[in-house]
């Protein structure tokens, strides 16, 4: 019979105390592990989604709101800017690329993004099925959206005005799915991407329907809408529809439309110093730096995280004390047994090891159960809550800081087990056996 088996037998003999101690430690471990996992995955997701985007240019307002809406697609944008800004900033010497984004519609919570094909390259996205859009109202959908909705190439859907599902439905102009992106583990997976013109057309039609007697763009678009509607009604006139939509495209560009924002990539690092200041001071636009805004956001959230960390830390300390108390109480109750073991030939070192192993087993079980709680809990949460979310989390991820957590907890457990083990080591056997 090995010491390990004896230690296990001792723990099983007082199973209720052992279970309570394991759960106490598991609770502390799980709390810290969840914070570590969430923090690491959030930071990673924030960085991954902002890769290649040095600056966001949009309407004046909250810079954080602009970044959240334009990069992470989790907030409403502060306003629109003129499409003329596209050419202005694309031609700027310190800007390598300026990708326009037009927001406004959604489908079952998945946002419709009007943009240019280069948008997909920000996420190194490849087409898994189908092709990129070529005409207005053709869309390529993200992999998560495809998985959640079951939509595929060849399907069509009516977008909803606004970001909630109870908005006005654009039944008159259905989006046609022509492609599905491969999974990128970025916000792209939950987006519906189409041409900028699609969004313009959709909203010009919407405006035309809302104000049918307006002149200018609206009346022109109203005609286009009628034309388009007829074309859709007669599928055999597809070529005619294509020609008409081309005319629409020209008309909206000619008359000018708004976009929501521009995603900027600098041509040189020096632009990071000068360009935001230039935009904010000299134009009626706003420039927001994703890394800066996210750092600011994490600092704000970090205050709360620190409190949670402190709370979780206190749980772990409490659990370590509980292990100490349990082993100490067990030592007192078993002092005769331990003395008998000495009589049977056990050395002081073996008794020390026995108590120490018991403490470590409790600690290891607590850590194991705690990590299982944390990872399993996050995975369950992601399954239940994560689909369709802009930033998803997974329980099947091990972050490096968890190694530090495990080592720290093992040390705490070892320290908690040390004193009872030492008392077992230094016990006076003859006195113990003579005691009542």
């Amino acid at each position: 019979m090995s010491l390990l088996r004896l230690a296990l037998a001792n723990l099983f003999a007082s199973w209720l105390t052992s279970v309570v101690n394991v759960l106490l430690l598991a609770l502390g471990t799980a709390s810290i592990a969840i914070l570590l996992l969430a923090n690491a995955q959030l930071s990673s997701a924030l960085s991954r989604n902002a890769a290649g985007i040095d600056l966001v240019i949009g309407a004046k307002g909250s810079p954080l709101q602009l970044v959240l809406a334009g990069v992470y697609h989790v907030d409403v944008p502060p306003g629109n800017i003129s499409s003329a800004e596209i050419e202005r900033w694309q031609g700027h010497p310190r800007i390598a690329s300026a990708i326009p984004l037009s927001l406004g519609d959604s489908f079952r919570g998945f946002r419709v993004i009007g943009t240019v094909p280069e948008f997909a390259s920000l996420y190194d996205a490849q087409i898994a099925d189908g092709r990129i859009w070529r005409r207005p109202f053709e869309v390529v959908i993200g992999s998560r959206m495809a998985a959640v909705t079951g939509l595929a190439v060849g399907d069509s859907f009516a977008g909803v005005h606004g970001l909630s599902d109870d908005g006005e439905r654009h039944e008159e102009s259905r989006y046609q799915i022509v492609g599905v992106f491969e999974s990128t583990n970025t916000v792209l997976d939950g987006l519906i991407v189409t041409s900028t013109e699609s969004v313009w057309l959709m909203h010009n039609r919407h405006a035309a329907e809302s104000a049918p007697h307006q002149d200018g763009v609206a009346s022109h678009d109203h005609e286009a809408l009628q034309h388009d509607h007829e074309a859709k009604a007669h599928a055999h006139e597809a070529k005619q529809q294509e020609r008409d939509q081309g005319q629409l495209h020209n008309s909206v560009i000619r008359h000018g439309n708004d976009i929501t924002l521009l995603l900027i990539e600098f041509s040189s690092p020096i632009a990071a110093l000068t360009l935001p200041r230039e935009i904010n001071a000299e134009t009626n636009l706003q420039a927001a730096s994703p890394p800066y805004e996210i750092t600011r956001l994490l600092q704000i959230v970090g205050v709360g995280l620190n409190w949670l960390n402190a709370f979780a830390g206190s749980l772990v300390i409490g659990a370590a004390l509980s292990i100490f108390a349990a082993l100490y109480a067990s030592l007192r109750a078993r002092r005769h047994d331990l003395a008998v073991m000495r009589c049977l030939g056990a050395t002081r070192g073996e008794l020390f090891n026995l108590l120490f192993v018991e403490g470590l087993l409790l600690t290891i079980a607590g850590i194991g159960v705690g990590l299982a709680f944390a990872h399993g809990g996050i995975e369950l949460l992601s399954v239940w809550w994560g689909k369709g979310q802009a930033i998803s989390v997974s329980g099947w991820i091990w972050v490096e800081s968890e190694y530090v957590l495990v080592v720290g907890l093992l040390l705490a457990g070892a320290v908690a087990a040390m004193l009872p083990a030492w008392q077992a080591y230094s016990a006076d056997v003859a006195r113990t056996l003579s005691a009542p």
């Binding site: 019979m1 090995s2 004896l6 037998a9 001792n10 099983f12 003999a13 005769h336 047994d337 003395a339 008998v340 073991m341 000495r342 009589c343 049977l344 030939g345 056990a346 050395t347 002081r348 070192g349 073996e350 056997v429 003859a430 056996l433 003579s434």
Partner: protein
């Protein structure tokens, strides 16, 4: 020379005291197959004597040899190992390890003695004591008499040279006390070991080869 080799316990000029002299023994030997009753009134130092010969207490003076090895020449660790290897102890309150089964109590004695763990030998011992059916039971599930037999089996599980029993019959009625004595005698003889029974129980006098009064050996 043969008599010397047969001695499993040799005590010479042993002295120990707390506040006042408690143990003062000029000579005390036990040979293999021999069953010695060490008697004396309560408080005369019987249990202290066991602790001295087990190396759990250090004498003020004198020598104890177990199976020819002087305890005074050993480190504490070596003493622990010698005790585990050559001595079996039956405690007054039995002190079976409650968290493990009957058979594991015996195997634990083998493990701490650093002898080969021999499960079949342990089971044979339990069979000889008529309690093999209880081998998977926990000590808490045993009667006093059954626990007594398990304690005897454990003291012999690692084939010791000397078995020391501290008041093994004090909690037993006459019938069970006689049974326990007979079993210990038979099994220690079978194991080629010597047996020391430390007791104030006068019933033991009838069951031993010789009786030594702790007050008379000074």
């Amino acid at each position: 020379m043969t008599a010397e080799k047969n001695r499993v316990l040799q005590v010479e000029d042993l002295e120990f005291h707390y506040d006042q002299p408690l143990i003062n023994i000029a000579k005390f030997d036990v040979a293999r197959h021999e069953c010695v009753g060490l008697i004396g009134p309560s408080g005369c130092g019987k249990t202290t004597f066991i602790h001295l010969i087990a190396g759990l207490l250090q004498p003020i003076r004198g020598h104890v040899q177990i199976n020819g090895v002087a305890l005074s020449q050993l480190s504490e660790r070596e003493t622990d190992r010698l005790r585990g290897r050559y001595m079996g102890v039956v405690f007054q309150r039995l002190h079976l390890i409650p968290s493990v089964s009957v058979i594991d109590n015996l195997l634990l004695a083998q493990r701490f003695s650093r002898t080969k763990v021999d499960r079949s030998y342990a089971v044979n011992l339990l069979e000889e004591l008529g309690i093999a059916a209880l081998k998977e039971k926990k000590p808490s599930q045993l009667s006093q008499g059954q626990a007594q037999r398990v304690a005897i089996a454990r003291s012999l599980a690692h084939r010791p040279a000397l078995v020391v029993a501290d008041e093994p019959t004090s909690a037993l009625d006459d019938g069970n006390a006689a049974d326990a004595m007979r079993l210990m005698r038979t099994l220690t003889a079978h194991a080629d070991a010597g047996l020391v029974i430390v007791t104030h129980d006068q019933r033991v006098r009838r069951e031993v080869d010789r009786v030594v009064n702790l007050g008379d050996v000074a």
